[in-house]
Amino acid sequence: MPTTTPLPPTSHESAPLSASLAPCRSSRFSPPLLAGGGSALLVGYLSLIVLIPIAALISHGLSISVATHGAGLAFWRWHVLIGLKTFWSAVTASGAKEAIVLSLWLSLSVAAINSIMGVAIAWVLVRDKFIGKGLIEASIDLPFALPTIVAGVLLLAIYGVDSPIHVDLFETWMGLMLALLFVTLPFSVRAVQPVLASLDLESEDAARTLGAGGVRTFFTVVFPSLWPAVLGGFGLAFARAIGEFGSISLIAGGVGRTTVASNYIYNLTQGFLWTNAAAVSTALLVLSLVVLITTNVLSSRYQKRTL
């Protein structure tokens, strides 16, 4: 915790001017708000709505109970083993395994399509000019702003059972994929767009003067600067897709072949199977966090190298 005691005025006056003007990163100077009481409130609040629930989730998922407090080591070893067995059987139960596998491959393909289309859309937004480009710009932000359930209703309105264009994707993986592509649309575009805009055109012109074609120029000159952004967008889209629930809950219907992990967990809660729900949730939680951390580390490492 930072010390919040104010500096005695004398020490400030006697300090050299340059020192007091330098951006102070030490905790001796403590700006506004958040004395000890504030920090305690903050920690309490975060515990209440994030830390305690997540701890409760994982402990239920691994069937770790604290009721056996005081038991010997042998008992604990047995206890943990039983817990892991329960966890594993919940995660590999029929239905659970399929749901997780479906989530995984859907998210991977959605993130991949999203990356490719993200580069294409960013390219059009940065390099192309035509009437109505503003509309495209706005339609990229739309999925960010819309609640996920509205995204679900949107897709249902056109790709549902009574589809006005006779494309019925209800209870199909294509429907799920469209929903996931919709909600992850901004990630890649918004990651790539600023990088593309900051590139100077000279090296591309040079490549072209030397006889490289459009495609060759893109892959040898442009893409090397783009790929960290593309990777970042891929990670974000994947993480979002693997946990997505609202937008797919309508078009998924109620059959097993379109039940993704989030949906499966929700179904378990409807049957009050909390231990199983906790186990699958724990697995999905770990998966999401691993993806997020990996992407973060990879893209920050690359940025460091280029700086």
Binding site: M1, P2, T4, H12, S20, L21, P23, S26, S27, P31, P32, L33, L34, G38, Y45, L46, I49, V50, P53, I54, A56, L57, A120, R127, D128, F130, I136, P143, A145, P147, T148, I149, V150, V153, L154, L156, A157, I158, Y159, P164, L178, F182, G214, G243, E244, F245, G246, S249, L250, A261, S262, I265, Y266, T269, F272, W274, S281, L284, L285, L289
Partner: protein, 272 residues
């Protein structure tokens, strides 16, 4: 780039966005008004829909101020102090939005409901989190946690501490510095974060669905009402009408965000 290539790429992008965004939006509006405006109006003013809207607004009225205060406080802590566990604090804020909202719902149930850790003692005090508006507040607050913080922290870093130091040297106390130096400088960023928080709060679905128990007229927020119209009551007009109302609410949020972004850019230019 050759003109033909340019045209091809442009068409691919336009068709893709048309299939994914354009057509769905058009058809949802058409379906919401398929029985005329009176039918639409009738749908969105029926008691269950209105009470869902009211509950959504009430939950937002509780969760948004709390998360704003927490976000501002934590942002100052992160951008202005060094302490053990700073990275951890930073990560905690992102956890609720990095994982599936359903997981957040399950986690809350396993902590505070009768099947969870503190269910029995809480029930003893007459507090029931599962199937109650309190649970909805918890779930909503959790999933809208990081937005204010994430909007402010970069601005705080960019501002630097010179002005705060100056105020300090002139004898201002901590609270005085916050109200008359720090807060005015970050006010647009705070407002940006608040708008994001409101948008997320009004739209939250998965976490709320798990903790609320979906009791119509009592624990239905607007998103849950829309889901229920489709899933249980087979009231498609209700679904499309409700979704249109929720979409319009978020369009307002989107417009405010765009305005704030413009404002912020101007602000930066003025500073430079």
């Amino acid at each position: 780039m050759k003109d033909s290539h340019r045209w091809a790429l442009r068409s691919v992008v336009l068709i893709y966005l048309g299939i994914l965004v354009g057509l769905p939006v058009v058809f949802m509006v058409i379906k919401a008004f398929s029985h005329g405006f009176p039918a639409f109006w009738n749908e969105i003013t029926q008691p269950d829909a209105l009470s869902a809207l009211k509950l959504s607004l009430e939950v937002a009225a509780i969760a948004v101020p709390i998360n704003t205060a927490v976000g501002v406080g934590a942002a100052i802590l992160i951008a202005r102090h060094n302490f053990v566990g700073k990275r951890f604090l930073d990560v905690i804020f992102d956890v609720p939005v990095a994982v599936s909202p359903v997981i957040i719902g399950v986690a809350l149930v396993l902590a505070y409901s009768r099947v969870g850790w503190f269910g029995a003692p809480l029930a003893h005090w007459g507090i029931n989190v599962l199937f109650s508006p309190l649970g909805i507040v918890f779930a909503t607050a959790a999933v809208s946690l990081p937005y204010v913080l994430r909007s402010i922290v970069p601005v705080l870093y960019e501002l630097g501490m010179d002005q705060e130091h100056a105020a300090r040297t002139l004898g201002a106390g901590r609270l005085r510095i916050f109200w008359s130096v720090t807060l005015p400088a970050i006010r647009w960023a705070v407002l940006y974060g608040v708008t994001l928080t409101i948008a997320r709060t009004l739209g939250e679905f998965g976490a709320v669905l798990v903790v609320s128990g979906n009791i119509s007229g009592k624990t239905q927020t607007l998103p849950i009402y829309i889901f229920d119209s489709w899933d249980q009551r087979f009231d498609t007009l209700g679904t499309y009408s409700g979704a249109l109302v929720l979409a319009l609410l978020s369009m307002v949020a989107l417009a405010v965000l765009a305005l704030l972004r413009r404002r912020e850019r101007k602000l930066r230019v003025d500073l430079a």
